[in-house]
């Protein structure tokens, strides 16, 4: 318990500091910080709309946060969650459209699997390039983002758009591919709020990633590779293979964003639907310090900020929803600098200080 508290200290301090600095900015802009924060937090936590939407916004961030965190455990920085989630979402829509006639019992799992598989394949490519040629995953995942966005856009426009539709989106997926909204099951939560079953899948993914990383021998090999590749190799672990596995799993998690977006919310693939979820996922994973439980909490925080930001935008005179971006950025700067600040002291240089 004390250990967990100790690990949470830096993120909590970072959040507090960000809110303090944010307050100063609000004052400088000429608005009332107390009122602004009351709006921000109040609108994010109201029932049912606030909480419903906060959880809805948090869902994709849980997936991308987990994706980035898992790759970080293998020593890899996956900047490609954005591209992976586009490919995953498109694959889910494709299955939902092409196989629309199938029974929901087959179609839903198939579409979900397609989302994960496509994202995974998209992640595997830079993983393989890294393992085989030593090509840096940061560069290649960024490049894969461009390809993913452009390709899904192309297929949407030229192959899957309904004739005459002015919006860049595919036709609808079959009824049988839809997953339920939680509004139908939770008393008081209206079904118009798009919070859906994918939120539960995201929670399950947090638990699964936790178990995978710390309780299985595969997770052990992956973490060993990330923490010290030379030692992992010495221990008989094939580090190249671990890199490919990690990037594939990471991509699959990012691809699962498509489950909620396509099967549970829009019921079609909508070009450019992601509000940078893949990139915010990096912030989520950093704030979470790579822990799956932390990812869940950090995603909730960022989801709440997204939701509250809209209300700040509308109901304050001068503050815009960009305040949320400022808060996010300050949090990450604090978390990142705290981690950097620690390095020299947690290194092998203790006491005697000899290397």
């Amino acid at each position: 318990m004390r250990k967990t508290l100790g690990r949470a200290a830096v993120p909590l301090l970072a959040i507090a500091a960000a809110f303090a600095l944010g307050a100063i900015i609000v004052v400088l802009i000429g608005d009332d910080p107390v009122e602004t924060y009351r709006l921000l937090i109040g609108s994010a936590l109201s029932w049912p709309d606030g909480i419903g939407y906060t959880l809805f916004y948090a869902t994709p961030l849980i997936f991308t946060g987990l994706a980035v965190a898992l790759a970080l455990h293998a020593g890899l920085l996956n900047i490609g969650a954005e591209g992976q989630l586009y490919v995953g979402a498109f694959a889910a829509a494709w299955v939902g459209i092409v196989l629309a006639g199938l029974s929901p019992w087959v179609l839903v799992p198939l579409a979900m699997f397609a989302a994960a598989a496509a994202g995974g394949a998209w992640g595997a490519v830079p993983g393989w390039l890294k393992a085989r040629f030593g090509a840096h995953e940061v560069i290649n995942t960024i490049m894969m983002n461009f390809i993913a966005v452009a390709l899904t856009s192309y297929f949407t426009q030229y192959h899957f758009k309904e004739a005459g539709d002015p919006i860049m989106q595919t036709g609808p997926i079959g009824e049988g591919a839809r997953i339920a909204r939680l509004g139908g099951f939770i008393p008081g939560l209206p079904e118009r709020i798009p919070l859906n079953v994918s939120f539960l899948i995201a929670i399950a993914a947090c638990i699964a990633v936790s178990i995978f990383l710390w309780r299985t021998r595969w997770g052990y090999s992956l973490r060993a590779t990330g923490a010290n590749p030379a030692a992992a190799e010495y221990g008989g672990i094939r580090t190249g293979r671990q890199i490919i596995i990690a990037m594939t799993l990471s991509g699959a998690l990012a691809g699962m964003v498509g489950i909620g977006e396509v099967l549970g919310y829009r019921y079609r693939f909508y070009d450019g639907f992601s509000a940078g979820y893949g990139f915010t996922g990096i912030a989520v994973a950093l704030l979470a310090r790579r822990s799956p439980l932390g990812v869940f909490l950090a995603a909730l925080l960022f989801g709440a900020l997204l939701r509250g930001g809209l209300f700040v935008d509308i109901f304050t005179e001068k503050v815009s929803k960009d305040l949320v971006l400022v808060l996010q950025a300050i949090i990450i700067i604090f978390v990142a600098s705290a981690a950097g600040f620690r390095l020299p002291f947690t290194g092998s240089s203790k006491g005697e200080g000899k290397v």
């Binding site: 092998s348 006491g351 000899k354």
Partner: protein, 505 residues
Amino acid sequence: MLELREVTKRFGRVLANDRVSLGVRSGTIHAIVGENGAGKSTAMRIAYGFYRADQGSISIDGRIVEIRNPHDAIAAGIGMVHQHFMLIDTMTVTENIVLGAEPGGVALDLERAGARVRELSSAFGLAIDPKARIEDLSVGQQQRVELLKALYREASILILDEPTAVLTPQEVQELFAILRSMRDQGKTIVIITHKLSEVLALSDEVTVMRDGRVVGRRITRETTAADLARLMVGREVLLRVEKGPASPGEPVLEVRDLRVTAQDGSPRVDGVSFEVRRGEIVGVAGVEGNGQTELVEAIAGLVHRGRVAGSIRFAGREIAGASPRERRELGIAHVPEDRHRRGLILELDLRENSILGVHDRPELSRAGGLLDRRAILEKTTRILTAFDVRPPDPELPARALSGGNQQKLVIGRELDAGPRLVLVAQPTRGVDIGAIEFIHGKLIELRDAGCAVLLVSAELEEVTSLSDRLLVLREGTIAGLVDPASTPTETIGLMMTGGAKRGMK
């Protein structure tokens, strides 16, 4: 006279120096000995201004001096030679020496500086050419350049941190001669070391530290190695390796014409053949960087296959193409030379480090790929107990252990797998005397239990006292195979550096 008075220094929760008081008389060679973590380097780094003391004072010749950084130390006449040299390889000796203390005004007068360097070099018998490039110098010569750097800055007190760690036996003798000549010309020398033989051979006075405190001062002539060891460790220590004669059986490892190349294609191991039999320790001596690392890593399977040629047979089976994991499964264990780089995953805990290399064996797994946490904890506890790893807390990260305890953990883990062949590289590097005694005992035990041991060490005394047969490696080839018990150290030293070649029948 250099004096530290009641110097205290904390690093976080660690009390590195606890009211350390020591005096170094002018014109003497003063040794500061202690185990790793005893605080000797910290105390001297405070004297050199690398760290600032939390409390206490430093005085020179009775006057208190304020030393806030190395600049102040140099101004006060203190120079320091570090374990790792701070030289720029592509520059000449003179350029390196004047770096940071360039003579003249705007224009750099290298001629005058060079003349001064030459003068200093001959005065103290350093034999260094001021115009030579650093990259062309041997390690021993580079160390002398570091000495010159301090002398050029007119240091009267020279601090040397573990100066012999990187030297061959001959170079050690040369260094000692130089240091004695410096003392005789009025310089004051402080040498930090943990090697008792050097203390006794070189110093005039000794200060012994343990756990951040000064625990004893001795006049070197009036003390013994056993006395110093007892002070350092805090109990009686067995300094000599006790072992009976070996009773070797059939060959376990047969290496034939092994060649290993570096990434750039240059040969590192160049046609080496030897065998290691059951129940014997074969030692490999040599100056570091003469192919020892590559030899061991090639046998362990850690060198890319494209860079290895020749035959490696284990228990009659060719293993040159086998993966590291297959070799482990056959019964080859490996204590790597660098426990931080290869042997441990510092941020993971002791349980996770105890299963490195065996994590996917069936006895540690349950259904569905889950690790069997109870079996892992049992294994960890077994290793920690049998190898006296302290503190024996399985949940600590490996980073939290001292060097000696980390090494005991690595050795314990490798031996726990029940190997038939153990590759041991630098088993006691950076390990304190108490742990050295323990590790040496374990290696002999292992041999007597019928294991084959290949032992590589840069410590000549260690390989000669533990091995039953000794290979001398030089420039990737075997310069000699000798009986370590009957061959004088000087002869082995000559083989290491290219003076003689001899065989043993």
